[in-house]
Subunit: 332 residues, 2 copies
């Protein structure tokens, strides 16, 4: 079943159908292009998101990475970055392997289709031109034959005319003979034109146009094959990176699993343990046994009350928990 | 290793550390919220894309779905819709299972932390108050003992004063005795206050504050556990829908694989084949054998030239390929 045989009289349909096929490719390319723009935009937003939440170098957040629950967040951001890279790859590969590839192919097909249709048109114009010649030739034959008949009638009439001279009769007969001869020549010409036309018409309907239509069919089938490949690439581009995306997601899950809350508590201890003993009992200062009275006015060696344990007092001299001063309650 | 024992003098650090932990949860919730917004936006754009390219009901595009390469594009759009639904599900589940859940938990933790810190503050204030009492009591004892000594010296001086009367001596001795008695009472009070303070201080450093710090540690570890679960959910939400997304992508690939270009060519034939034979040879009209001359002027039964095969002529009477008129070249 081919178009050349089955659709020999459906050139208009084939014209429209192949155009509609190219339109579909064009539409699909546009669709994929818009999809890649969405992917790029999505990836860009994800990049901005991870960037926004990534700690600045030497910041407080970076220092807090000693704690696994802080570090895990940074690990997730890192995995997100890899993840985003894969989304960018999807956009890029769709653009290169589908949009650019199909656009290039589309241009070739447009050229090819134009060529086939122009060949069909040329063949048709040639047949039309031959037909016009045939028509002219036929009309001339008809006209000349009428003239010849008229001349024959005229000769017959002259022959039966009692008043006609022999010369008149001879002249009319010659005229009729000449006319018949011309008409015969026109008939031969008409016959020859008809033969030429029929040969060309046969060539047109049984060889030339079927060839053009079959080439258009072949072109359309190649277009469909290429488009179908483009369809497959649309999903496969993403399927191709899915294992890596899966690995990124696994990495994020692992990062969550690796968080160790007990360990984070210990890290805080290791970082901030002063090593001092908790204050023992305040001793009794027995003035009645004559201790140095001056010392009772001095702040040294005298309990000054429980120190600012809750860190609300911003007076530095009272903040004994300041990591750098390393002064504990043992001064009491 | 627990904070209550090891970090007994690091209340300020514990305060800041637990606050920083809550800040991290808050930051993570914000991060996930922004991620869901990106996902929702992404899904919305994908929805708009498929909607834009889906054919209107009864449109030309819909009719062209008889061709597998057109139908495949619609199948891809349908799969894209399912795919988009999964992206929406990711956004929705992240919002519900991470953002809302952690925000709720965060409120509880904030309350709990406030409560623990307020308990610590209360205990400290109570100890400070007891200390002030102790200090006052000690100062009174010191002051009264000094007065008693002064009175004793005065009594001794009076006793050795040759001009002093016996009554003077007796009065001074009584005064000294009274002062000593008062001082002894103050000493007892100081001793009792000291005992009370030491008991409370011990309770403070060895029981109350460690309890508060350990509760804060426990709270922080619960926070970390919950946050780690939130980290795991971040990736698992997406991993959960990956098989379905994979199925959508498989569906798209299959749709591309199912495109059959040969079949599409046949569908066009079945749809548009006129069934007419291609025109045979144009017959010779021999006027010399006396055919009906009138017929040569009539358009019927006379070749009118090759018909508009390329569909460029918009004159309807010449468009024999119009599907509805079903008139072929056989009229020639």
């Amino acid at each position: 079943m081919d178009w050349g045989t089955e659709l020999w009289d459906q050139c208009d349909i084939i014209d429209k159908h192949t155009q509609s096929g190219l339109d579909l490719v064009e539409k699909y390319v546009k669709f994929v292009k818009e999809r890649t723009e969405i992917e790029q935009n999505y990836a860009k937003q994800l990049r901005n998101l991870t960037k926004k939440y990534s700690p600045k170098r030497g910041s407080k957040e970076e220092q807090e990475c000693r704690f696994s629950n802080h570090q895990a967040f940074l690990d997730i951001l890192n995995e997100m970055n890899d993840y985003t890279g894969q989304r960018e790859l999807i956009a890029e590969n769709m653009m290169i392997n589908i949009c650019i590839e199909l656009t290039k192919y589309l241009q070739e097909l447009k050229q090819e289709r134009k060529m086939h249709l122009s060949e069909a048109k040329k063949a048709q114009q040639s047949l039309e031109s031959t037909y016009k010649q045939l028509d002219n030739s036929k009309k001339r034959f008809e006209r000349e034959w009428r003239e010849a008949e008229k001349a024959a009638q005229c000769a017959e009439k002259t022959d039966q005319d009692l008043n006609a001279t022999k010369a008149d009769v001879e002249k009319a007969k010659q005229q009729a003979h000449m006319r018949t001869h011309i008409a015969e020549e026109c008939k031969n010409d008409y016959a020859s034109q008809l033969q030429k036309y029929n040969k060309e018409q046969n060539q047109f309907y049984f060889t030339d146009m079927p060839l053009v239509f079959n080439r258009l069919q072949d072109m359309d089938e190649r277009r469909i094959k290429k488009l179908a490949h483009g369809y497959i690439l649309f999903a496969d581009t993403e399927r191709h990176v899915m294992p890596i995306i899966g690995k990124c997601l696994e990495g994020m899950t692992r990062t969550g699993t690796n968080v160790n809350e007990r360990n984070d508590s210990v890290v805080l201890i290791e970082q901030h343990k002063s090593g001092f003993e908790r204050p023992g009992d305040v001793e009794f200062e027995d003035y009645s046994q004559g201790i140095n009275r001056a010392s009772s006015d001095s702040s040294l060696g005298t309990p000054k009350g429980p120190l600012e344990l809750l860190g609300k007092n911003k007076n530095k001299t009272f903040r004994l928990f300041n990591k750098k001063s390393k002064v504990g309650f043992t001064t009491l």
